[in-house]
């Protein structure tokens, strides 16, 4: 569960102060599927960075699963990102010289999971998102949609409680976008909290709740009516990537 209290984020460039977020109060329950919308510069990415523990607030409280993030040091934030949060970026952010499998193994490299189990869990995660035949491809040998699915697999391998996606469909065509939203909806059904930022109303329509940002604060918070269901392959969960291999 996420609780934000009076979050203030001020960027200082020289003498100029910029209030990117001014007084955000927000509660996101476990299992929610939230879309954040709003005009450019309204503070959506700033919000996501704070939620994803990539950045710290200027003032206010951020509680993630009862853990007060304000007081965490940089390495503790790294550990939280590694253990609790999965990231999906607009520009995929895969390591370019590295195969899909190795990219997906990466988060497990940083929490000391053995090589054998890393391989198994990464293979399972890639299989789940339908990429079992692309394990050894490098990012430049994959389509945009496939790269984003690798990124999703990577975000899942450490069993995160929350998945952060900043414009995950921003670089994708509509077919790939629907594929990604299909995966998100299925993951959400499995209990993973999802927060995504999007500019596109039809993408937001796949979520359960839309939060509208304007000038660094929440303008409107609505429950999605007539929610769209993304058509697509069901996640291949015969081998559940979440099943703990004894470690």
């Amino acid at each position: 569960m996420i609780i934000l209290k009076d979050i203030l984020k001020i960027y200082k460039t020289g003498d100029v102060e910029l209030r990117a977020l001014s007084g955000i109060n927000l509660k996101i329950e476990d299992g929610e599927f939230v879309a954040i919308m709003g005009p450019s510069g309204s503070g959506k990415s700033t919000m996501m960075n704070i939620l994803g523990c990539l950045d710290t607030v200027t003032s206010g409280d951020y509680l993630l699963d009862d853990l007060n993030i304000n007081h965490a040091r940089e390495d503790e934030l790294a550990e939280i990102r590694n253990q609790k949060i999965g990231f999906v970026f607009q520009s995929f952010n895969l390591l370019s010289r590295t195969t899909a499998l190795e990219n997906v193994e990466l988060p497990m490299l940083y929490n000391g999971i053995g090589a054998r189990e890393r391989r198994i869990r990464a293979t399972n995660a890639l299989t789940a998102v339908g990429l079992s035949s692309r394990l050894h491809h490098k990012p430049n040998e994959l389509s945009g949609g496939q790269q984003q699915r690798v990124a999703i697999a990577r975000s899942l391998v450490n069993n995160p409680v929350i998945l952060m996606a900043d414009e995950p469909t921003g670089n994708l065509d509509s077919k790939s976008s629907i594929e990604v939203m299909n995966i998100f909806q299925q993951l959400n059904t499995l209990g993973i909290t999802i927060v995504l930022v999007t500019h596109e109303p039809d993408i937001a329509q796949y979520s359960k709740r839309i939060i509208h940002f304007k000038d660094g604060s929440i303008d409107r918070d609505e429950i999605v009516k007539n929610r769209s269901i993304a058509e697509g392959e069901p996640l291949n969960l015969n081998i559940n990537w979440r099943s703990e291999v004894a470690s």
């Binding site: 960075n49 952010n93 010289r97």
Partner: protein, 406 residues
């Protein structure tokens, strides 16, 4: 994060930039190579000096014609043929600190045995040579004073000559006759093998009576070198002084005239050899220190470039949970691998260089494990020292700034 994993990542990075990696290593390669060559020359010189001393005989003084410039380095050697048998006899009879004296003359000569022939150094001397120069006959015998007086055509030959004439250094040629510059000599003994020291091979020579050499081979009675054995090592300086006094008198040199001969002792030879190897060592240490420094700076430079190039990668790694120390370690390991690889190549290059020097420059070099371990340690230290700054820079990057970097 796993240590081996870091090494794999680092190696992949290096492989994808082969030329750059090699160029970066160049400084280390040259530095470490210089260290290896330097030490191998130093050790070789020591071994060779020890060998030479043993090869020369003990308590030895060497008298050569001509004035020397600096200790042991002969100037105008052979230009003067002013030493005679009279000088030798004078030393023998008047110098109290002298045990024995062996005059020598020598000439490069063509030696024929049956259908085989070879070119070697023929040394004409007296029987005392065997003791003074510690060159005994291992098979057969050395020639006698009588044979020397009789201009006897007898020879004691070195094993390298035996090898050249028969194809086998162990052939017993005693009793055989060889032609030296078309003059027949009977072999009466084989010299004990001493191996080569420095550039000279003690086994590649034929020793004959000096009388026979002068009358039958050289045709003059000039003496090239007089070997003198002092009575004890304490008397070396006394003997040297006596010889100088006697020869100045013999040559009728006035009070302020410089010597027209040179007396050299083993100590002089030793210090010359050490002096040469010391100045070489100094030069090479300079080269090594500078190249290692330049190499280290090169590594730092390339690591800084690498950190900048891979800012986004660092951002990704941090976003998914890499801690500062992990990123730091990754780049540090990369720097250490570059410098250690450079070190290994430098060791290969240095060993190769030192054996080339040995083969083609006639220098005695010796490679041992201690400089190799030292080189490893050096390159490790350089990797750490010059890798820390770039690695810290990478570790301190803010994940968001790094992710935004284009």
């Amino acid at each position: 994060m796993n240590f081996l994993e870091n090494i794999r990542i680092a190696l992949r990075g290096l492989r994808s930039n082969k030329l750059r990696s090699v160029l970066t290593m160049l400084g280390i390669i040259i530095g470490v190579g210089a260290v290896i060559i330097m030490v191998s020359i130093g050790q070789g010189a020591k071994a060779s000096v020890a060998g030479q001393i043993q090869g020369l005989g003990s308590n030895l003084l060497i008298v050569t014609p001509g004035q020397s410039n600096t200790a042991g380095v002969k100037g105008g050697m052979g230009s003067l043929n002013n030493m005679t048998m009279d000088d030798v006899n004078a030393i023998k009879s008047s110098a109290d600190a002298v045990a024995s004296v062996a005059p020598t003359t020598s000439k490069q000569a063509q030696v024929v045995y049956g259908s085989e022939n070879t070119s070697t150094q023929v040394v004409g001397t007296t029987p005392s040579y065997a003791d003074v120069r510690n060159q005994q006959a291992s098979i057969g015998r050395f020639f006698t004073d009588q044979e020397n007086q009789d201009n006897a055509q007898v020879a004691v030959i070195g094993t390298t000559v035996v090898q050249d004439l028969t194809g086998n250094p162990n052939t017993n040629m005693v009793g055989q006759t060889i032609n030296i510059n078309q003059v027949p000599f009977q072999i009466i003994g084989i010299l004990q093998s001493k191996g080569s020291s420095g550039a000279s091979n003690n086994d590649d020579q034929i020793v004959v009576p000096i009388s026979s050499a002068e009358t039958r081979l050289i045709g003059s009675d000039s003496i090239r070198t007089i070997y003198v054995e002092a009575k004890s090592s304490d008397l070396m300086d006394t003997a040297s002084g006596e010889i100088t006094q006697i020869l100045r008198q013999q040559h009728g040199l006035s009070f302020n005239a410089t010597n027209d001969f040179t007396v050299t002792s083993q100590t002089d030879i030793l210090s010359t050899a050490e002096g040469v190897s010391q100045s070489l060592t100094l030069l090479l240490s300079g080269v090594a220190a500078i190249s290692l420094l330049v190499g280290g700076i090169g590594i730092m430079n390339i690591m800084l470039v690498s950190v900048t190039e891979r800012t986004r990668e660092i951002g990704i790694r941090k976003a998914i949970g890499a801690k500062r120390k992990t990123i730091m370690l990754q780049f540090l390991i990369e720097a250490v691998i570059i410098s250690m690889l450079g070190g290994v190549l430098g060791i290969l290059f240095g060993s190769g260089g030192s054996s080339l020097l040995n083969k083609f420059a006639g220098m005695t070099t010796q490679i041992s494990t201690s400089p190799i371990i030292m080189a490893f340690a050096f390159s490790f230290a350089i990797g750490i020292i010059f890798g820390v700054f770039p690695a810290r820079k990478a570790a301190k990057l803010h994940p968001i700034d790094a992710l935004r970097y284009e």
